[in-house]
């Protein structure tokens, strides 16, 4: 069974009296423990796809299913990492990570262990009692990822999680996420507008068209990555220098450029 399925998803909305078609017949199936990235121009509806899997929004027609169940509401089985971090400013790092476990009714002692584990996983030791605003952007996003991972969710939904970070921090976070994803594989739906990021992180990359959004093609990165031993390189710039990486990146860029065409500003 697929972990996440989009079946003929259609999404229309009305703003200021004008009807927009945001998504038109989106079909996508993500296997368990597979890492899929969606890239596309801004406003193409890629974030809408993620929000429908999270249960924040619902398709006008078609179905979004997670583990075979139609999504009806948000829940801790589908942890979301937001672009704006969405940490609770009035809770410490520890309390932020702990909240989901408390909601699940996990006993206190076990909560302490699991939060400590998540804190260690994201290299946040020593910041347990800090408030989010006392941390840098990169550290805040680590907390948000820890908050998602600690729930041990079936599905991780990441909405441009590194979009608000500076370039250097971004690279470090990408490398860490790769290590994390290869060590603790989860089903991940990852939204980005960076082609490099998508190719570097994902098993498969779905290219979306400009509005009305549709999946134009899905490029399988994993066989290339495995065959060319990308994961043997610790640093992203070394991977990005590989011919196989450049080739895939150029191919996706072309696919996007054809799409953007003359109407692009």
């Amino acid at each position: 069974m697929d972990a996440i399925r989009f079946d003929g998803v259609h999404k229309a909305f009305r703003r200021a009296g004008i009807d927009f078609v945001a998504l038109e017949k989106v079909d996508l199936a993500i296997a368990p423990q597979e890492f899929v990235a969606i890239v596309g121009p801004s406003g193409c509806g890629k974030t809408t796809c993620l929000r429908m899997a999270a249960g924040f929004e619902f398709p006008t027609s078609g179905e979004v299913t997670v583990d075979g169940r139609i999504v009806t509401a948000p829940g801790p089985d589908r942890a979301v990492v937001f672009q704006q971090f969405a940490l609770f400013p009035w809770k410490t790092v520890f309390e932020n990570i702990e909240l989901g476990l408390r909601n699940k009714g996990v006993p206190k002692a076990e909560r302490g262990d699991r939060v400590a584990e998540a804190i260690a996983l994201m290299n946040l030791q020593g910041y347990e009692t800090a408030f989010p605003h006392q941390l840098s952007g990169g550290m805040q996003q680590r907390v948000a990822i820890a908050r998602a991972y600690v729930l041990d969710p079936d599905v991780l939904l990441m909405d441009e999680p590194f979009g608000a970070l500076d370039a250097q921090t971004r690279v470090v976070m990408q490398e860490e996420l790769v290590r994390l994803a290869r060590r603790n594989p989860r089903t991940v739906l990852f939204i980005t507008h960076s082609v490099e990021e998508a190719v570097y992180l994902a098993d498969r990359v779905a290219v979306m068209t400009r509005r009305p959004g549709r999946i134009k093609e899905v490029i399988n990165v994993k066989p290339v990555r495995v065959a060319e031993h990308w994961d043997d390189h610790a640093r992203i710039e070394d991977v990005m220098d590989l011919e196989s990486f450049v080739h895939l990146r150029t191919r996706i860029w072309k696919s996007l450029r054809d799409e953007k065409g003359s109407q692009d500003r």
């Binding site: 942890a79 979301v80 937001f82 969405a86 609770f88 400013p89 009035w90 909240l99 909601n103 908050r147």
Partner: protein, 258 residues
């Protein structure tokens, strides 16, 4: 820079006090019937503190006014903040209550004084009612705004984590709105003082407004000044107290400034 400011500030105040002395006591350019000399003010302060004035001694007046402020303010905050939170969260409650609010809100709180006296007389109940009405509005509006301006991804994060309803209210809604709630409480406190002084000026047996009222009738400028200074000091002190409560209640904002 702070040192520079406080030196200039201290200097300004000393110059002002000097001018006050020169204009009244030393030269008599301003007649004592219009504005008291420092000595008059000191004697008035001594009189009201030790022998008493307008039915009581200073600490009795002050305690009486403070009691009314505390009661009126607490009742207003206790009713206004929950109502504002409710209206902010439930669009239905907002739609039902807003028109009533729009109808009553333009009436300045001080305009309720005659009605309060008609209904409840010149006693404490009338003053608490007027303070309540005055302090209620800022509490409601700011709590409402506090809820309405919560970033929607904060709500989404809470629901994604499966937060149950009551925990959501206590741990997300109220903390997220609390900076605005405290802004409202500060305005409420200010409104409470204005209303109390006005209500006591209109009619009262004790209180700072009573001192001002009697002093006005007696044409006693020294006592008027003492009354005004007391109003200012108490207003300042209660505001500081509220600011202190805020920094205790919202440690995450305190560290933001540090």
């Amino acid at each position: 820079m702070i040192a520079r400011r406080s030196i200039v500030g201290l200097g300004t105040i000393m110059v002002l006090v000097g001018c006050w002395y020169v204009l009244t006591s030393a030269t008599g350019l301003v007649s004592p019937g219009r504005f008291p000399s420092p000595q008059d003010a000191w004697e008035s302060a001594w009189q009201v503190t030790v022998t008493g004035y307008a039915n009581g001694r200073l600490h009795e007046h002050i305690l009486h006014s403070l009691k009314l402020i505390a009661l009126g303010f607490l009742v207003a905050a206790g009713t206004g903040v929950p109502l504002g939170l409710l209206m902010g969260w439930s669009r239905r409650a907002d739609a039902i209550i807003s028109p009533i609010f729009l109808l009553i809100r333009p009436i300045p709180p001080l305009a309720w004084i005659p009605l309060a006296i008609l209904w409840l007389g010149l006693g404490d109940a009338a003053k608490i009612m007027v303070i309540w009405f005055a302090a209620f509005v800022p509490s409601v509006i700011n709590s409402y705004t506090g809820v309405r301006t919560i970033e929607c991804y904060v709500v989404e994060a809470a629901s994604m984590l499966g937060t149950p309803r009551w925990r959501f209210v206590l741990e997300v809604l109220v903390p997220a709105a609390s900076p605005m709630i405290f802004t409202g409480l500060r305005l409420s406190l200010q409104a409470s003082w204005t209303t109390l002084v006005a209500a006591e000026l209109v009619g009262a047996l004790y209180g700072l407004g009573r001192i001002l009222n009697v002093a006005q009738q007696d044409i006693y400028p020294g006592m008027i000044l003492v009354g005004m200074i007391c109003v200012a000091i108490l207003g300042w002190a209660t505001t500081r107290l509220l600011a202190h409560a805020e920094s205790l209640a919202l440690p995450w904002l305190r560290t933001a400034e540090a």
